[in-house]
């Protein structure tokens, strides 16, 4: 029995280590690449940089205007997270817990947007609408469009909602809790893990969004986000891409997502087991 356990553990760890290594290799190459010269990086001849060019980072920081644009990116990403979670959790609650006319239509509408969505193709009508609302040169336009694309988060939350026992709603109802109160006080806290993943995915998506902020900040450079700045890294004084700066910029811009991940991981990992029992 013991031998079997040791054997099982060895296999388990071998699997985790090998798979973890394979996963990490491209990440490591990215990080190492961000310290190389452009030619060393593009020829791909070496694994470790032959000389460590820390200046790639200071250049990337300067060209992409990190200090100015990071704030804009944070505003966009955090607003998108809050908006998306609010809008989709409210919808998920009534769709999962209640019956009403038009529910099927609503759900198929959400599904439909997921089947199509060819990003940039719908940009023009979206932009036209924002021009009419006079939001075409503000980050609010970007945030609203990002929030409107919440179909997948909606479906994720519905599936998590199904895991929360309906007895809880019934009990709350008997205690005289209104539907709204039940949602905010009982269901939403229990939705922790789903909200955590949803927040992380939304944050990442909004953080990496390029075309929307590009278009909506055309005439207001001071509102540009980091991704727009990162795109500036690609081209310098000659026809070839400045891949070394792109890598350095990419490594820098990953950090906020990792911070978001740590938060999400912390918040959704210990929440429910306790709450469910209580």
């Amino acid at each position: 029995m013991k031998i079997k356990n040791i054997l099982g553990n060895t296999v388990l760890w071998a699997f985790l280590l090998i798979f973890g290594l394979v996963t990490l290799v491209p990440v490591v190459i990215t990080i190492l690449g961000s310290f190389k010269t452009n030619v060393e990086l593009t020829t791909g001849a070496t694994f470790l940089p032959s000389k460590w060019h820390f200046s790639n980072y200071s250049e990337a920081w300067r060209i992409a205007n990190f200090s100015t644009y990071t704030m804009n990116s944070l505003i966009v990403a955090l607003s998108a997270v809050v908006g998306t979670l609010l809008v989709s959790s409210m919808a998920a609650y009534v769709v999962d817990r209640m019956d009403f006319i038009g529910k099927k239509i609503y759900v198929s509408m959400q599904a439909f947007t997921m089947f199509v969505a060819v990003g940039a193709v719908v940009l023009r009508p979206q932009f036209d609408l924002m021009v009419k609302l006079n939001l075409h040169s503000s980050l609010w336009g970007v945030i609203l469009i990002l929030i409107s694309a919440h179909a997948s988060i909606f479906f994720i939350l519905v599936s998590f909602m199904k895991g929360i026992p309906k007895d809880l709603d019934e009990a709350a109802k008997i205690d005289g809790s209104s539907l709204g109160r039940t949602f905010w006080r009982i269901i939403l806290p229990l939705l922790g893990p789903g909200l955590g993943v949803g927040a992380l995915f939304t944050f990442r998506g909004a953080w990496n969004e390029y075309l929307l902020p590009l278009v909506f900040t055309m005439t207001k450079p001071e509102l540009q986000t980091l991704t727009v700045g990162l795109a500036n890294l690609k081209y310098g004084i000659s026809a070839a891409s400045q891949t070394h700066y792109m890598m350095a910029g990419a490594c820098l811009s990953i950090l906020p997502i990792l911070v978001a991940y740590i938060f999400a991981n912390k918040s959704f990992m210990q929440m429910t087991a306790g709450s469910l029992k209580g």
Binding site: A45, G236, S238, A239, A240
Partner: protein, 457 residues
């Protein structure tokens, strides 16, 4: 505890967003205020997708803003890959630019989209004579929309060190020589991982657009399969070119993995001395002096022809630079800025600093050779010339470049491929003529050889 966290983060976000909103509002106000107080400042904006000259242009724009006496202030906006998308959308708002950087592959589209205003009324006879008029490149329906500044030439770029090692003395002038030399270079270089020839087939249109095109044009065939004599598509001229490329690949003289090779990795390998020859544009010397410092001695030569007879002209691409927006509210001010940019000192500096090869005869006569290593081979020679603009059609099914590359990989009947291409491209052409108002008239007297030699000193 958790709830508190949630609430605090919520309120932070709200505060942040309100701050952002407030920011943009106050910005609006302050802008309005400055415009009101200074009164006379005329603000215009110039949009460009160029980055190679950004520092220089920035300097010149600042200089204009300081020195002009008409109270004009130019805002320079440099965009990247999405220049066209951004421009399209800006024309749906009141914030479209006043001056637009146009290129040989965008000016026609922008003209059709009615983004551009003719500049004839501003042109003095002197300016009209100084800047060559080129149909469909800066002139549409008899009206001028832009003026040339610099152009791009196409060349065969070769590794002199590898040539010396293989005992090859001169770059190839025919397809057969191209194939043979590629083979010799590979024999000499393979031990060090060097190969005779390379093409960036990750994007076949990009690969053949810089190689097959110029060989066809030098040999007297339209670079994209269009024959100006008959006003029909006929890809027959490409047959021997594609066969030669396939031969190079089958011989093993092509860098391994060209199927997924992008242009930058190709350049980087060339800089390292791993590639003997390739064909490309005059932007390459800049790459080897800055981004990928070349470890080898290299040079550029005219592209080879099919059989050694130059019956056409090596395409000199360009003919336009700045254009006036049709929606500009300050056309006069915008033109004053354009006039400044097209002044002799800027155009001369443009070539001398190596940003591009001048296409204005009076400038190229006086401007010095740029201080960029390797550029000499790219300067206009007796073969360079400006081709008329090829009609753009959308054939159903596979594009010519993809079809050719597929043949290079899989083999098959190239004659049948070409027959099929001719049929599909011509039916798309007919469709464009009947439905989209495309004009394609046969020109029996068209002589590709006569295009050449107009820029050589």
């Amino acid at each position: 505890m958790k709830k508190q966290l949630l609430l605090t983060s919520l309120s932070i976000v709200l505060a942040l967003s309100l701050a952002a909103c407030g920011n943009s509002n106050s910005n609006n106000n302050s802008e309005g205020a400055t415009a009101a107080t200074t009164g006379e400042k005329t603000k215009i904006s110039y949009w460009t997708g160029d980055r190679h000259d950004a520092e220089f242009i920035k300097e010149k724009v600042a200089e204009f803003n300081e020195t002009n006496t008409d109270g004009i202030e130019v805002e320079l906006v440099v965009k990247g890959d999405d220049f066209d998308t951004a421009l399209d959308l800006s024309f749906q708002t009141a914030d479209s630019p006043d001056v637009i950087r146009v290129k040989e592959n965008t000016i026609g589209t922008f003209y059709k989209k009615e983004y551009l205003a003719p500049i004839d009324e501003y042109l003095s006879d002197e300016l009209k004579a100084k800047f060559p008029e080129m149909a469909d490149l800066n002139t549409f329906d008899g009206k001028r929309y832009s003026l040339p500044n610099y152009g791009t030439t196409m060349r065969l770029i070769y590794n002199k060190d590898l040539f010396a090692k293989a005992g090859v003395t001169a770059p190839p002038t025919t397809l057969q020589e191209l194939v043979d030399i590629a083979k010799k270079l590979t024999v000499a270089g393979k031990a060090d991982g060097a190969y005779g020839f390379a093409q960036n087939f990750k994007n076949p249109a990009s690969a053949l657009g810089r190689s097959a095109r110029v060989i066809a044009e030098m040999s007297g065939f339209g670079g994209f399969g269009y024959d100006f004599k008959t006003a029909r598509f006929d890809f027959t001229g490409f047959k021997s070119i594609i066969e030669a490329f396939k031969q190079i690949k089958d011989d093993g003289s092509m860098l391994p993995g060209v199927e997924s090779l992008d242009i930058d990795p190709l350049r980087a390998q060339f800089a390292e001395g791993k590639i003997g020859m390739y064909l490309s544009y005059s932007s390459e010397p800049g790459v080897y002096s800055t981004q990928f410092p070349a470890k080898i001695d290299w040079a550029a030569a005219p592209a080879p022809t099919i059989d050694g007879n130059a019956k056409g002209a090596s395409g000199f691409l360009g003919g336009q630079w700045l254009a006036l927006s049709a929606k500009s509210k300050h056309k006069d001010a915008a033109w004053k800025f354009m006039e400044y940019m097209y002044g002799d000192s800027i155009l001369t500096a443009y070539q001398e600093k190596g940003f591009g090869i001048s296409m204005v005869p009076s400038i190229s006569a006086v401007a010095k050779v740029p201080e960029v290593n390797g550029i000499e081979g790219f300067l206009p020679n007796k073969y360079d010339g400006v081709w008329p603009v090829y009609p753009i059609v959308a054939p159903e099914g596979m594009k010519s470049d993809d079809a050719f590359f597929k043949y290079m990989l899989n083999g098959g009947d190239l004659g049948a491929v070409i027959t099929d291409l001719n049929k599909r491209y011509n039916s798309a052409l007919d469709d464009a003529i009947t439905n989209d108002g495309l004009v394609a008239k046969p020109d029996p007297g068209f002589d590709p050889a006569a295009l050449a030699g107009k820029f050589a000193k």
